[in-house]
Symmetry: D3
Subunit: 193 residues, 6 copies
């Protein structure tokens, strides 16, 4: 069986990519051992690639506030609501690793209301899902509910912004038919992974 396509749209050869994009991809490959397909699929459009990852890093890599595991919970929960194959599989792997919990990603993806979460994390995901599915109904009460759980204004923005950014990401992955690398499925499922 031929290897399934990474994207419904053209995927450039790494050797033909602009230098900055190639450099980023090689760095990821060095660190992870493989090139996540999102880099290949989005490299079709260099300017959008750069903006996408700049946005991604501003939300997912910055210090302080939400833990990195919590940020990934938001990604997995909202990507599941959008039925995004790529994001649930790839960020599910990252969530397992960051939370050091091999069960949490599947739990959050299937029904976060039943996942092993704190009440604070549950409130965080309730809000993230509302941003994902009915942001026009967000009102002061929704923010007040988060403050009761100790979230700061900055963290509230972060929750919203991560949910909003993956609203974009999920749609691009769904339209391009972006395929997650097989490697992601097993990452973080065993103590050492």
């Amino acid at each position: 069986m031929p290897k399934p396509a990474v994207s419904r749209f053209p995927v450039p050869a790494i050797s033909k990519m602009p230098d900055d994009i190639r450099a980023r991809i090689l760095a990821v490959q060095e660190k992870s051992g493989f090139v996540p397909n999102v880099f290949l699929a989005l490299a079709h459009r260099p300017d959008e690639f750069r903006a996408f990852f700049a946005y991604h890093d501003a939300l997912m890599e910055k210090d302080g506030g939400l833990t990195k595991a919590e940020r990934e919970m938001i990604v997995v929960a909202t990507s599941s609501a959008n039925q995004c194959h790529y994001c649930v599989v790839a960020h599910g792997a990252i969530l397992r690793i960051r939370a050091r919990n091999p069960l949490i990603a599947d739990q959050v993806a299937i029904n976060y209301r039943k996942a092993d979460l704190t009440a604070r994390q549950r409130a965080m995901l309730d809000f993230a899902l509302k941003v994902a599915t009915s942001s026009h109904e967000i009102a002061d009460d929704d923010l007040a509910a988060l403050r009761k759980h100790g979230f700061t204004e900055d963290e509230i923005w972060d929750i919203a912004a991560i949910s909003a950014f993956f609203a974009l990401s999920n749609r691009m992955a769904n339209v391009t038919n972006m395929r997650p690398n097989d490697e992601f499925y097993m990452l973080g499922r065993t103590p050492k992974a």
Copy 2:
């Protein structure tokens, strides 16, 4: 009555913004005669601001492919589906100007199926709306329908990417309670506007 707030979150003074952001805002003010509130609201987070407008410009300002009016139609139609006050008002104004048509923005916002559009534009919006509301169901048939109307692969990506980018934008505007400037409501409604 006090002037309503631009955002539910803090808005920095223009004088306190990083140089590149202040420069961009002053350039927009110079050109438009006022500072659209999206610039003020998003300046709360400089890194996200930069990525947001880099993404925006890559999709909305590039040459060739969809006309600029068509890109704005996508913004207005999908932002209306998301009930985004800011984007429908602000991009409705831009659509009127770019299409040189004072009626088109309201038509597209209320029910694009009844708007004065070509069959090709109608197909474009059918696809954009599917990306906005049920991207997990996008299939080969959806792309084939666009090709029948003469859309290229690059244009299909553009339609999807604009719809996806405003999925992000609408959610941020809804969560921040971003308020459109009063100036937008009248722009493009009269021949000279």
Copy 3:
């Protein structure tokens, strides 16, 4: 380009209409400077025309209770939920005029939760929308919420009846493909309009 049709169904010449209908239409034309297309489209069925406008006037023109601007807010908000091109454009114009507010109609149409309304008006529209979209779930609590804002029993009936009447009106406009007159788009947008 030929002038777009007023309706998908036959439209009688004014000269061929029954006397009472012609008289009403000429009076409206005298007052407004043009004949709103709803009169032409519905004149296809004289008996229904008479009942429609008798009902309309009983709800929209009677003295006391809700202000005329508030009644138009109900029309615009519920017609937007039904994506009725004709009613949002035509009653948006009337709302701007009656409220002496050039921004209010677009705000109410896009997302009334973000419009510049009093808490009382917001509660009025919450109820009107529930009547429009899920009247089978209306319960005593919904009426109690209105009474807290000072609405009388008569006003509560009015809110419901206006929402219900435009449930009819929106459906007829959508099925007949009723086209709003171009004149409506600009009415009430400038101080003198």
Copy 4:
């Protein structure tokens, strides 16, 4: 147990009603043996009462076109979609009588797709339901589908207008908590009823 209320709003005594309304009610009582509660509940607002029944009669009592049983099918199917207790019970009774079929009303109310209908009647109800639930999506194809089954333009208007009128009626019945008379439940269930 006290007799349940006819309406959540005040119901005038027949003796206190305006002459024309009292006359109509007494005529109905003479013919049916009881006063259907819709007359009592709506008499609270004489002008709306007159417009309501004028509209009703224009659609439901006129000669030619759809049979009277078919008109009642439209009422029952759309009122069931709106979960309108009064209209399903009262018009279900009328449908049984007009169709001389004791089973048809329950079938149409529960799932008209499984009812003992002709293909033509099924197409009629598909259209009526679309008018009731998503009229903004009505397009030329919907009308073409009806023409294939032999419906005239006048009949198509009638289907739409009946569905639209009961969109109003169902909402008023739901908001007023209008209670159907016990007599309706058994009407038309036996050969002589």
Copy 5:
């Protein structure tokens, strides 16, 4: 007109059925005067037939807890939400008989919120409907609401299990196009029925 089919799938002759199934069917016929079509339609698959009725009897025939009328209310309300022709008609008849109330089945089927129920029964149906339509959102609060009305843990399980069992039953009836016997429509509508 030929008699409409009982099922879209083959229906075995009673004489060809396994002994235990034939015995059960003859016993029902003896008691009811006719063979409800569900027995004929499901006899196509003897093993599933046996499990189905064992499950049914465990929930609907056991002593104690919910009254038999209350159990039928759950069936009628949830089957109506699933638009199951067979179950609403057949269990509507049983409900009328068990509640000795000729009106209750139609009320519960059309809109249980308007039916002549106690507050306790209303809470029971609110929960049953949530199980039927969005069981993934069931939370501790839902069970607490039932306890406030005096429901025991065992009764709460029963409500859920009946709703869940008819989720299965409704789907089988809808897929097989199972037709209710004409006899059901009139059962329990008159004092002696």
Copy 6:
């Protein structure tokens, strides 16, 4: 941290269960190395337990027709639509084992339209999902679409019945808050698992 509960309802000790139920559970434990929690949670009600597993086995264990992997695909896809934590995790494991494919369960759970399936399997799941979510709209065309892919009448019944049975199962798991055993998450993810 204490071990999370298996069910929201009481769970009997294995030693106190009726003999036939204990025997079945011990046999499963012998074969799998652990007792899947569904057996413990449902043992609270022995009669329902027996009917449940008799039904389950009649559909999932019988010879011929759909492959066992295909039956599990139906379970995983429909259980995901119902957001059933237990069934997606437990049957996901069984699907991986029966299909000898470590990726297939996550793919089918997240968005079966993107999974590595044959066109025939895709049609099977389209039908199963329609049974799960809108069985009242199942029509002859749906069955015809399956026959085109070579499905027999018996297999069509099987698809429907499996989807219907897990409509029940998902609701019971959601209401009881049934927790999947940790063991399931890793089963079938590696060649030997």
